[in-house]
């Protein structure tokens, strides 16, 4: 099946929703959002904690509430969506190949494309932590999905590696669900998480944050049984003799996010090695004319409000591109 649209938005999270709405506001008629999940909203759907929307809406919302505001706005437009649909590739002449259960392979030709695929979490493999390969090691975001969407507890005795915001949020979440969070271990001398998350998610629950400490070995053959942590020197190398064994059945990793740019690469879009997102050629345009990028696929943001603000600009830029070409 083939389709022709003015703007195709890849990813229906906060970035894609804001960008699509802004395109419509600027008079673009034929807009399509392609979303891999069954519903729009992206990762906000599993962020059931408050703290979203203070800048954009002037009030504190949960992730799903924040997403719903945009989904409601979208419902009042004629913007089309394809959910449960995975984009397989994008060509430099802006043809998207996607697949879903209903339509099979779909080819979508677009005058402009907005990339808003978000990011993924760094994994244990990338950290190269020594030791065994048991079950019970999850990225914080995967654990968040299991707890908040699927309704399952990954474990009861938890150590969190890295103090990214999702890790901090999950320290509180797991505690509220009855788990014992033994501590958060951060290799850097300061946390990369938001101050308010350290206060509200750790301090308020008496969960210790250990700085300049990292995991050196994971233990347990079948399920995680413990983890050895050690202090690190100024080069982030573990200091011999400072090792400490902590018993746990679950390790959550919150050690950074990486913009997810496999689709961008398939179009030959130039990637900035620092941000790991597309090079921003001004106004959120990429190295391929007519392809724009916004949200965490461009660079990793701290606040969804800022994603929204920038994505509005990207949507405007895409609309202007269509009018001028």
């Amino acid at each position: 099946m083939t389709m022709n649209v003015d703007v195709a938005v890849i990813g229906g999270g906060p970035a894609g929703l804001a960008a699509a709405l802004e395109c419509r506001k600027n008079g673009i008629e034929n807009i399509l959002i392609i979303e891999r999940d069954k519903q729009l909203g992206g990762i906000l759907n599993q962020c059931i904690h408050p703290g979203f929307g203070l800048h954009v809406f002037g009030e504190e919302l949960t992730g799903p509430e924040y997403a719903q505001r945009y989904i409601n706005m979208l419902a009042e437009t004629d913007i089309k969506t394809l959910t449960d649909t995975m984009v397989l590739s994008l060509s430099p002449d802006k043809v998207i190949r996607a697949v879903n259960s209903e339509l099979g392979i779909v080819e979508i030709s677009a005058k402009a494309v907005i990339l808003s695929m978000g990011c993924r979490e760094r994994t244990r493999g990338m950290l190269r932590i020594s030791g065994t390969r048991p079950s019970g090691i999850y990225t914080a975001g995967t654990a968040q999905r299991l707890v908040n969407i699927e309704g399952y507890m990954p474990g009861k005795n938890v150590v969190i590696l890295g103090s990214g915001d999702i890790g901090l949020i999950m320290a509180r979440r797991m505690t509220l669900e009855g788990a014992k969070v033994k501590g958060v271990y951060e290799i850097m001398p300061k946390s990369g998480g938001l101050r308010r998350n350290i206060v509200q998610c750790l301090d308020d629950f008496g969960i210790p944050l250990h700085l300049s400490k990292t995991a050196v070995e994971i233990h347990g053959r079948e399920r995680v049984e413990g983890i050895t942590v050690a202090s690190v020197d100024e080069n982030l190398a573990p200091i011999a003799g400072t090792e400490e064994y902590i018993e746990c059945d679950t390790v959550l990793l919150s050690v950074g996010l990486i913009p997810e740019n496999e689709v961008s690469r398939s179009a030959g879009i130039e990637i900035d090695p620092k941000t790991r997102g597309p090079v921003n050629n001004g106004n959120f345009s990429t190295s391929v004319p007519g392809v724009f990028a916004c949200g965490n696929v461009l660079k990793v943001y701290d606040l969804v409000d800022n994603v929204t603000k920038d994505s509005v600009l990207a949507g405007k830029a895409a609309a202007d591109y269509i009018k001028n070409n």
Binding site: G125, M126, R128, S130, E222
Partner: protein, 478 residues
């Protein structure tokens, strides 16, 4: 409980056991394949270099030499029919100094004696023209065009599946712990009390083969576990080398290699450490440094920064400098297939053939099945044309739902992986069969969805879904 009676009980569903079961499934005799883990290929087979060696390494006249060269030929012959991922990319043993130059000439001579086809000594210029990323210190190389890379897992999963489809009973979580006589038969008992009866027990228990042999009163060999650590690099490093790049062999094995994998990543390793504990599959920072420092002698630009995952495997060293293959002197109902160290993966198909030959030679009258079907086809959505994809999605919409975005794996393929012969029973089983969770996010996104599919297909609660059987649970009970 009813005790089932078999002609042959093969212990261990690694590469040797699986190919033995595969060969036996061509005959009307009743065979079972006893595996102590929740899946096939969980021991030495799972974690190694996944290289199909040409056969210039083993000492001429040894079983290792004979079965390596024969195994190589069988892999090239059977891989399409059985859908075993294999790429015949050829291997280089590179010489970096005078000693190395001597060594590759010696290996060339050895290879000729072993009957290896196509061997060629290359000059420095010829070597660098083909492999420009090699160290400038390279003096030349031995090219073996029949070598290749495969999926080590599929090298035992494929024959196990064909065996099961042709009547072999694959019995999982059966850790052989006791053996007793029952007339002309042996009663083989698992740790959990289950029992099977068999005329001949074929001991392909890998690193644990000496323990199984002891249950029969055979203490003629001892398996020394030797750990090797490996790292896999991102597939954006895929073009780094085109052939398997070996350094000349050292005392403890074939040395550190840099090689493309069958999936287009780059593999670096292994280290070689004799250890005490047969299941101690840890990776260590020190091991990784050894591997990369070694690898940089061949390919200077290879970097730890590109590692996407690392693993370690245990090789069963039999201490006899050859495979231990034959009826035990202690008990004639025991046939040892032991000490299958490198090139054991390559030799696998030939080991299976050899075992059956020996059984026949020793008076076991085996009758060929008329209806043996040796074909196996794995459906890989990603490899189809758009027209084919659409046809499949129409027939089964699950093929239109991508579960693993990094490796483009559909729900239909995951369901197939659970339902097929010798199918997946856990998360790692799905990952190894269809690559869901193998990519960049390492299962971060698809993990919860795969858990749900396994739970649904096996009709078990989520809390009983495991990573790899036993106590490797994923989530708490509700």
């Amino acid at each position: 409980m009813e005790i089932k009676t078999y002609d042959f009980a093969v212990v261990g569903a690694g590469v040797s056991g699986a190919w033995t079961a595969y060969e036996l499934s061509k005959y009307t005799a009743k065979t079972c394949l006893l595996e102590k883990e929740n899946d096939v290929a969980m021991g030495a087979t799972k974690a190694n270099s996944a290289i199909i060696h040409a056969g210039y390494d083993p000492v001429p006249g040894s079983l290792m030499a004979k079965l390596n060269v024969r195994g190589n030929a069988l892999v090239r012959e059977l891989h399409e029919k059985m859908d075993i991922p294999f790429r015949q990319i050829g291997s280089y043993v590179i010489a970096l100094n005078d000693e190395g130059e001597e060594k590759i000439k010696e290996l060339y001579e050895r290879g000729i004696k072993n009957g290896v086809e196509g061997l060629k000594l290359l000059s420095k210029e010829e070597t660098l023209a083909e492999e420009p990323n090699l160290s400038d210190d390279v003096r030349g190389a031995l090219l073996a065009p029949t070598a290749g890379v495969c999926s080590a897992f599929e090298m035992s999963c494929a024959p196990a599946e064909v065996a099961e489809n042709n009547g072999v009973d694959l019995i999982r979580n059966f850790a052989v712990s006791k053996v007793s006589d029952d007339g002309d038969y042996k009663l083989v008992e698992a740790a959990d009390g289950r029992v099977v009866r068999a005329r001949v027990v074929i001991n392909a228990a890998g690193v644990h083969a000496d323990e199984v042999a002891k249950l029969f009163g055979d203490d003629s060999f001892k398996i020394i576990p030797r750990r090797g650590e490996y790292s896999i690099l991102d597939n954006n490093c895929g073009g780094l080398v085109k052939h398997v790049i070996f350094q000349p062999p050292v005392k403890f094995g074939k040395g550190i290699l840099v090689s493309p994998t069958v999936d287009g990543n780059i593999l670096v390793g292994p280290t070689a450490d004799n250890i005490d504990d047969k299941d101690d599959k840890i990776t260590t920072g020190a091991g990784q440094k050894v591997a990369f420092d070694g690898a940089r002698k061949s390919v200077p630009t290879v970097s730890e920064r590109d590692v996407i995952t690392s693993f370690s495997g245990i090789r069963p060293i039999g201490g006899k400098e050859d495979f231990i293959l034959g009826f035990s002197d202690a008990d004639k109902s025991l046939f040892n297939v032991s000490g299958i160290e490198s090139p054991g993966l390559t030799a696998g198909p030939a080991v299976g053939e050899y075992v059956v030959e020996q059984l026949i030679k020793n008076g076991y009258a085996l009758e060929k099945k008329a209806d043996f079907d040796g074909n196996r086809k794995v459906f890989r959505f990603n490899e189809l044309s758009d027209e084919e994809k659409n046809e499949y999605i129409k027939k089964n919409p699950l093929y239109g739902r991508i579960i693993c975005r990094c490796e483009t794996v559909t729900e239909g393929e995951i369901v197939d992986a659970v339902r097929r012969g010798a199918g997946a029973r856990d998360m790692d089983g799905v990952k190894r069969r269809v690559r869901a969770g193998m990519g960049r996010c390492q299962g971060g996104f698809c993990g919860p969805k795969v858990m749900e599919i396994i739970s649904r297909e096996l009709n078990i609660p989520m809390s009983e879904v495991t990573k790899f059987g036993g106590g490797s649970w994923m989530v708490e009970k509700d």
